[in-house]
Symmetry: D2
């Protein structure tokens, strides 16, 4: 039975909630299979992220990992294509740390591609009536950071597993009262999107394993 | 018992559905009171609108009228403040008619203000977690046209009644596969917004009537 | 010889300059005819505007009046179609005054249409390579306020004269360093746009006068 | 004397001109030193780009290379940070070729970072009143493609040289008459921006060489 690890972020930037953690938690609580879903809330903290992520890796031994975060201002679900080797958030993280143009890993490659089936996930969401697209930049904040660290950890520790990152829009309530109108999505829709992404990733993994078995 | 008339538009511009009519119909079908809700689908046709609107006026004798339409590209519910005396849609209506800088009514005033409680409606939606705002332009297409005709009809035929116009965003599915990401809202959320607007308008009307009675 | 009055606003909202006044002043300083151009800087002050506007009216006896203001976030020149009878700025003016849903004039009509040749101005700017459009809302701040007061003053005091309002984008330098990218336009382009608007208005006025003479 | 190579693209997508080539050509024609500027127009053709780029490399032996392209919809100058190893344009190039999720180079790394002084270029433009920012995605079209090929060519053929990519907005005239307002910039401003980027890159290269000499 496959194990899925989902992560979301804690709130930041003065917001009271983070729709990514709200969704990931709801997916876990309502998951009826196949496989098992674990959900972990990550701190918006460049220097504290790794410990939480690697602890979850050891504890759950995941086959599929989908990290998620908020992309305020986006109107749709953004399935990220690539994580880049830079920290340059522009604003301090929740611990007050503000790196400028620093590498994620001094000795790491310039970038890692997602190993999730990014186009099939977008297509699956579209079938379900949820607007989504492949995004070519996860930014240079903690979202990109955890994405890069995840892909490196998968490459080094769990090469059979697949993983990647998905950005979600503001939740409906976060768009209430904003000075300029903000695109948003309901919690229910975001949750359904993440669940569909997990299902699609799982099917992709199983197909790959079937193919591999067939080849022997 | 108060009577509420809701209108939505038929599809236009190549879209398969119009979220305004979808929502208005759903509000009617699920309405449990107070009062009675009637829903009418209007054609996107400058020259055919009046007959349908006035027919509904005669048939239902409404106390509250909320006309609704799609504002593609909007991220929130827009409660319109004012209808202006001009037809200048820029693109032909569904009947192929394209007026340019023509008045709605040759002998009408430059504009009519909505008589709905526009700020209380926005506040009520916000309480319910739905992003909304007062908008100062309903455009110069059939939305503004029906809004102007409605306000004139109310002023002349049913001065005790109140009415106005609400623009809704694309439905979720209409944002799927668009070249540029489009803000959107789920059908469920739009429907809840229109129902809350109707409820708020009704309460406002009753307060006014109570006050009027109290004064006699 | 025709007299043209141009107005721009003083800075507000923490900005150091207002591109509308910068442009209007530059048009005056570089104007080589036909006619005479006067430029007046208006305060962002609902209660102080009238005195300055009416003083300019008396002093210059203008035949054409174009009031201008900043529409931060706009990407093009917006030639306004209509001024509405409401003050509802959402933020206080420079004097700290914050009216909410108040009329501009208790006894005034709901709206006044611009008497400038709004479509010909847009076409003239397009010919010159400057993006422009007709806008159907000048907002509910001091821009709309002065526009409404101007149209009323023209109707009552100078019925042969024409006037209206033009919104301009941020100047280039105001978009430097903003958190989210802001559309902007160079001072030179904005100035050229206002000069072309004035020229087009003047030609329109002269055509009308010629026609009127021809009719006698 | 340092040699600078600037590239811009030919028009695509039905546009009559490409502001990147317009600017690059104008920089070359008005350059008064230091160094020599060469300008090359590249085809919007994945399979034809390399020959033109490498031919320019051989002919001009550049010390600084700045490739430029149009990012329609951008409001400011985008100094790109990273080129990624993927071709996925979504629409066919000018030769009708439409790769889907293909690598730029089968055996290349996932990405290359720009070796231009990207933050100093942004700062220099800001000093000059031109809005600019570092961008973390050059897309997956021919812009990213030439950027990736450039960085690989520099790494392999001219390791002492520096290079990168700059995206420019629509030119003013390209925003005229568009259905939705488009941010744009005047040709003069875009040209000044590219000239300042070249100057800043040259100074950065010289500082680096001075430092290297000082170390011996």
């Amino acid at each position: 039975m496959a194990t899925i690890l989902l992560t979301g972020f804690e709130p930041f930037g003065g917001e009271e909630a983070n729709p990514s953690w709200n969704a990931v938690r709801a997916v876990r609580d309502s998951w009826s299979g196949p496989g098992t879903v674990h959900a972990v809330e990550l701190p918006v903290d460049f220097r504290g992220l790794d410990a939480v992520l690697l602890d979850a890796f050891e504890r759950y031994q995941p086959d599929v990992v989908i990290c998620t975060g908020l992309a305020g201002g986006n109107a749709d679900i953004a399935v990220e294509r690539i994580a880049i080797n830079v920290k340059d958030p522009g604003v301090p993280d929740n611990a007050g740390y503000l790196p400028v143009d620093e590498p994620v890993d001094e000795d790491g490659p310039a970038a890692y591609f997602s190993t999730l089936p990014i186009k099939p996930i977008v297509a699956r969401l579209a079938e379900d009536g949820i607007p989504a697209r492949v995004s070519d930049s996860a930014g240079t904040y903690t979202c990109n950071y955890v994405f890069y660290r995840l892909m490196r950890a998968l490459a080094e520790l769990r090469p059979h597993a697949i993983g990647g990152f998905v950005h979600v829009p503001y939740e409906l309530a976060q768009a209430v009262g904003s000075v300029r109108p903000r695109p948003s999505m309901s919690h229910e829709t975001i949750t359904r999107a993440i669940a569909l992404a997990a299902t699609t990733a799982l099917e992709s993994l199983e197909q790959r394993l079937d193919t591999a078995v067939g080849l022997t």
